[in-house]
């Protein structure tokens, strides 16, 4: 069973709809017991980092998430809170991925970074059969730095980690559930990780 963690960060309808379209059964919950018994876990989220961390703590999920050994996918803010820390609200995060999350910077760039951008240097199972330079949908103002756990790069002003992988933890800054057929492919790849 796939679990989508509901920690009060935004709407889960798009993500659950994309799982329905992929015929993947799932449950939406914040119950630690159910999360521990899942086959894989998705940590979604839209919003602000410090509120996201606060909600994770209030749901008693900090240690639960850190100790998961099944495949975990963080999306957008869900990935950012798996990082070391975030400049947004000066937030200490779960420290599973090494990079810091920083505000997007660059000459003449508009923030939020909103729309379709390309991913390069694709690595690992998440991008199996995904083309180098594929277009995916982004909507964010902060992003993780590049590091040796980056499994894709994207440029907006500076180049940042548009996805990360560390052991069983995966994270995407883009929204695969909003990225057309390419995004569905990436979700499907995550669901098929052995």
């Amino acid at each position: 069973m796939i679990t989508i963690i509901d920690y009060g960060m935004g709407n889960l309808f798009s993500l659950s709809s994309s799982l329905v379209r992929l015929n993947a059964p799932f449950i939406i919950t914040s119950d630690p017991e159910i999360i521990r018994l899942s086959d894989r876990v998705i940590l979604p989220g839209v919003g602000e980092a410090s509120s996201a961390m606060k909600n994770i703590t209030n749901c008693g999920l900090e240690e639960v998430i850190k100790n998961l050994t099944i495949p975990v996918l963080g999306i957008c803010i869900g990935m950012q809170i798996l990082c070391k820390s975030s400049e947004e609200g000066d937030t200490e995060c779960l420290n599973i991925f090494p990079p810091k999350v920083k505000r997007l910077r660059g000459e003449g760039i508009k923030v939020p970074h909103m729309g379709w951008n390309r991913v390069f240097n694709l690595k690992g199972e998440l991008f199996s059969d995904v083309n180098e330079g594929e277009w995916l949908y982004f909507i964010h103002s902060y992003a993780p730095e590049l590091c040796d756990k980056s499994v894709s790069h994207t440029q907006y002003g500076e180049i940042f980690s548009s996805s990360l992988q560390c052991k069983n933890f995966y994270g995407t800054q883009f929204h695969p559930e909003k990225s057309g057929t390419a995004g569905e492919k990436i979700i499907n790849n995550f669901l098929n990780i052995k």
Partner: protein, 251 residues
């Protein structure tokens, strides 16, 4: 870098996509969900759905429709048309909308922008601005372009940005429906003054207009309705043309 976006806009009345001149003589032109699926398949970058029913009954139908859109469509979409308070915005979020567009309600109560964006994030809030030239000055109009709002376009756009808008959807009323091109100069000015993306609307008639609105108008996205609905321009061909003209376009 981020691609320039092409956004078809669908006016919805009840369960139908409609087309009408100034909201009169509404003619059904298709099913909103099926049209959206088709646009997503042919390369639309986002979709905008506007509820023009303006009745409480119509609004209920629209919320159900938003759920159906979210179930079926795998690209982002914005919903708007008569969203008047925080509660209605939240209702749209829970129905699966990625963004909401607010217009008249924000003009009568600017704090609404802050109220919504501070809870759901700036990326969720598009402020739609309709403006027309009055004595050479671009002035904001409210209530579907009917009533002067007493604000200058640039002032209101900046105020919206400061209050937490994530994007501005600018419609040049005088260009709207003419098919003679966008208000390039004003769009360029808005785009350089603002630090948030600008969606240009009003006046699209042919492929070159889109090229100009991105190159001269510096728009981040361009929105059009009828030329896409009646098949005058296919999104696929349009995007190929724009790519060949040297623009950064998702194909």
């Amino acid at each position: 870098m981020v691609a320039k976006r092409i956004i078809p806009c669908l006016d919805v009345n009840g369960n139908r996509t409609v087309k009408g001149v100034r909201f009169n003589n509404l003619k059904t032109i298709g099913d909103p969900v099926l049209m959206g699926i088709n646009y997503a398949r042919t390369g639309a970058d986002e979709l905008v759905y506007l509820d023009i029913s303006a009745t409480s009954e119509g609004r209920k139908t629209f919320v159900d429709l938003v759920k159906n859109i979210a179930r079926e469509i795998n690209i982002p979409f914005t919903v708007g048309g008569g969203i008047s308070c925080f509660k209605e915005a939240a209702e749209m979020l829970n129905a699966g909308a990625d963004k909401i567009a607010i217009n008249s309600a924000a003009l009568s109560s600017p704090q609404l922008i802050k109220e919504i964006s501070s809870v759901f994030g700036s990326q969720f809030v598009v402020v739609a601005i309709d403006a027309t030239q009055i004595n050479g000055c671009w002035m904001v109009m409210s209530r579907g372009g009917q009533i002067p709002a007493g604000k200058k376009l640039l002032d209101w756009a900046l105020e919206s940005q400061d209050l937490g808008a994530g994007e501005i959807l600018f419609t040049a009323i005088d260009n709207d429906g003419t098919k003679e091109g966008f208000a390039y100069e004003k769009i360029a000015q808005l785009s350089s003054v603002l630090s948030i993306p600008v969606i240009a609307s009003g006046g699209a008639g042919k492929a070159e207009h889109f090229e100009h609105v991105f190159k001269e108008g510096k728009a981040d996205a361009a929105l059009a309705a009828s030329i896409f609905h009646n098949g005058e321009i296919s999104i696929k061909d349009l995007k190929c043309n724009l790519l060949n003209s040297g623009l950064n376009i998702r194909i």
